[in-house]
């Protein structure tokens, strides 16, 4: 079923179907094993229990579904999770980093499509991990690929389209985005067969505000001259926010923070690098792992976790006021290049100063026009600022590891040379 948020009518009326795809248990086992291996990074810091976190959560969601709870999946970070949580549904982000799913997707989608889209589609089709558990998927029309993807998803899932304006002005917000969020709330109420009360929404907003607080706290640690956690560890932990229960996640991060606060850093000898551009989503840590052979990643200004950074500030705790504050947070500070006049530049410049960045690596997924065109602007600004910049154009495949490694290694050598002995 394919419909626009707030409307009843189905968009596509003619019959066509997707070929049948059978789930591949081998791939699922492989991914879970890979997680157990990678999560040892976190266990090294002293926080246990991360190895089985995915399998445990999948079982938990399945049980909750049996008891009648609905799962609302979404791509990108324009959908207010607070609303989904307040309506007693489970928010689940289905942005995927799995390489094996791309083969599945390429049976249907063309080759020249962003790997993230292919991977998310393939994983949902082949019922991998938690990707198939959604009752509804909400797709924002951020890029062309996601827009058209809605048609494909609708053949086996209910899809709601959230129409994003192209400009991030206050007028566009009031005219086009805020009314959408209001009707999204009504759609969610219909889905969960329960009205969202004012108190529930307030509680939900306050809970997710804690999530922002704890995220910022953790980020502050990375500003130190000797960061106690590297990029891989940090991104692994943050990846769990895609599927994990919010309250448990906050508790885990608080625990982690306590362990890291007093930890001695082992990354002080490395130059500090910031990653920007297309999001890096587990298990596509290819670039991250290569970079961290030579440097330490102290910040990612990417849409993978940037929505955890800005808080929802409610001035007017009436129902309408809360929805407006929510919608504002998910729209105005967004750094997605799908918006014209995107002002990620200021954020990058500020972070260079805050985190004492030595160099920036621009991660660009192949076939992404938006990030490709955005590069020129960022190169211009960073050249003026004098911060070294390296562009890596890649996808999920492993074939170009050596090529990336040569570039990254040379880049880090350049940085080291510029800033003396590190």
């Amino acid at each position: 079923m394919l419909k626009i948020v707030g409307e009843k009518e189905e968009i596509e009326k003619f019959e066509w179907n997707l070929p049948k795809i059978f789930p591949d248990k081998k791939v699922e086992k492989k991914i879970l094993k890979l997680w157990e291996l990678d999560s040892k990074e976190i266990e090294k810091i002293g926080v246990k229990g991360y190895g089985k976190i995915i399998s445990k959560r999948i079982k938990e969601i399945r049980k909750m579904k049996e008891n009648g709870k609905k799962v609302v999946g979404y791509l990108c970070n324009f959908i207010p999770e607070e609303l989904i949580y307040a309506s007693n549904c489970i928010p689940l982000r289905v942005c995927c980093g799995i390489y094996e799913s791309i083969n599945v997707a390429e049976k249907i989608l063309p080759m020249d499509v962003c790997p993230l889209i292919k991977s998310s589609f393939g994983s949902t089709l082949s019922k991998l991990l938690w990707f198939d558990l959604c009752d509804v998927i909400i797709l924002p029309t951020s890029c062309d690929g996601k827009k058209k993807l809605a048609e494909f998803f609708s053949k086996f899932k209910d899809v709601w389209i959230l129409h994003l304006p192209n400009l991030k002005t206050e007028d566009e917000f009031n005219r086009n985005f805020l009314p959408l969020i209001k009707v999204l709330k009504e759609d969610l109420e219909k889905l969960s067969k329960k009205r969202i009360s004012r108190d529930e929404l307030e509680k939900s907003i306050k809970l997710f505000h804690k999530r922002t607080e704890v995220f910022r706290k953790l980020n502050e640690l990375r500003k130190k001259n000797q960061p106690p956690i590297n990029g891989i560890g940090f991104n692994l932990i943050l990846f769990t926010s895609f599927f994990e229960d919010v309250e448990r996640w906050i508790k885990n991060i608080n625990l982690l923070y306590k362990k890291l606060e007093r930890k001695d850093s082992k990354f002080s000898e490395y130059p500090k690098v910031m990653l920007i551009g297309s999001p890096i989503i587990w298990p596509n840590f290819k670039l991250l792992k290569i970079v961290e052979e030579f440097a330490v990643v102290v910040n990612e200004t990417m849409c993978s976790f940037e929505h955890l950074y800005t808080p929802v500030e409610v001035d007017d705790w009436s129902y309408e006021g809360m929805i407006r504050a929510l919608a504002r947070k998910y729209f105005l500070p967004s750094i997605c290049p799908c918006f014209l006049g995107n002002d990620i530049v200021d954020r990058i410049l500020q972070r260079i100063e805050d985190y004492k960045i030595d160099g920036i690596i621009y991660h660009q997924l192949k076939n992404c026009l938006l990030f490709d065109m955005e590069y020129y602007k960022i190169k211009f600004v960073l050249e003026k600022k004098g911060t070294p910049l390296l562009r890596i154009q890649t996808d999920y495949a492993k074939e170009d590891v050596e090529q990336i490694r040569t570039r990254v290694e040379t880049f880090i050598n350049i940085i080291k040379g510029k800033y003396g002995n590190k």
């Binding site: 090529q403 040569t406 570039r407 040379t410 050598n413 350049i414 510029k418």
Partner: protein, 265 residues
């Protein structure tokens, strides 16, 4: 410091086509050798090192430091350190210098890739760009064309200089350019004109690549492909600047590796 010391270092450049070794003593090259990498970088490196040692009349134990570079550098387990070929190239270029002045841009035309490096005022790498995805701007392009025209690669460059009317090759892809050459042969066009056109094609690709990081005087042209005088002339014509090709251009990166070895001693 690099020239008057008693250190003996070896630089091993494991390229995708050929492995080059340079043995350096007191700032002078005392031995060098080249062998095809084929499918076994480790074996190629060992073999090339042996050959170079023989020429230098030295034993492996005499070497104080071995630096491996190039695409297959990580396979060389007996190397003391690995460094990327861009850094090595810059090091060697600075060491060799050019008769025209300070080196600003390095263009490296390899067997299966090409690179451009911009140096800052201190001779350090400021920016770099690599083409290792498309064969059209690499040595492979000329190899394919030489085979199509049934000529030896060595004569290729000199023949191109004889042309008075170079024919523009429209295809950017190696395979389709080959098809274009075949149709030109059928049209009974002059060989030297076709070859000159091909050289301009490569020069154009190199200039496009280097423009991404900025072309600054003086231009230092190295890599195996720099042995081709036709490309050098085409580059000079296209850029309107003098291009310097060092002696033994294919060994420049290996030399750079050996120089880094001296620093690490």
């Amino acid at each position: 410091m690099l020239t008057n010391n008693n250190f003996i270092t070896a630089g091993i450049d494991v390229g995708s086509v050929a492995t080059k070794v340079v043995i350096l003593k007191n700032g002078k090259i005392v031995g060098k050798s080249l062998t095809l990498t084929k499918a076994d970088p480790f074996h190629a490196a060992t073999f090339a090192l042996k050959k170079a040692l023989k020429e230098a009349r030295l034993h492996k134990n005499n070497i104080n430091f071995i630096v491996a570079t190039g695409y297959g550098r990580r396979a060389i387990e007996f190397a003391n350190e690995t460094v990327t070929e861009i850094i090595c190239n810059a090091k060697a270029a600075n060491f060799l210098g050019s008769p025209f002045g300070k080196i600003g841009t390095i263009i490296d035309l390899g067997g299966q890739d090409s690179k451009a490096i911009l140096l800052d005022n201190d001779g350090k790498v400021e920016r770099f760009v690599m083409n290792d995805k498309c064969s059209a701007g690499t040595g492979r392009f000329l190899e394919v064309m030489a085979r199509t025209l049934e000529l030896k690669l060595d004569e290729f460059g000199k023949l191109s200089l004889k042309s008075k009317n170079p024919i523009k090759i429209n295809s950017t892809c190696t395979i389709f350019a080959e098809t274009e050459i075949i149709s030109l042969i059928a049209q009974k066009k002059k060989v030297e004109d076709m070859i000159a056109g091909l050289h301009f094609s490569i020069a154009e690709k190199l200039v496009n690549l280097a423009s991404q990081i900025g072309i600054k005087d003086v231009i230092f042209f190295d890599g195996g492909g720099a042995k081709n005088v036709g490309i050098k002339v085409a580059l000079e014509k296209m850029l309107g600047k003098k291009v310097y090709v060092p002696p033994f251009p294919e060994y420049v990166v290996a030399l750079g590796a050996a120089l880094i070895g001296v620093e690490k001693c």
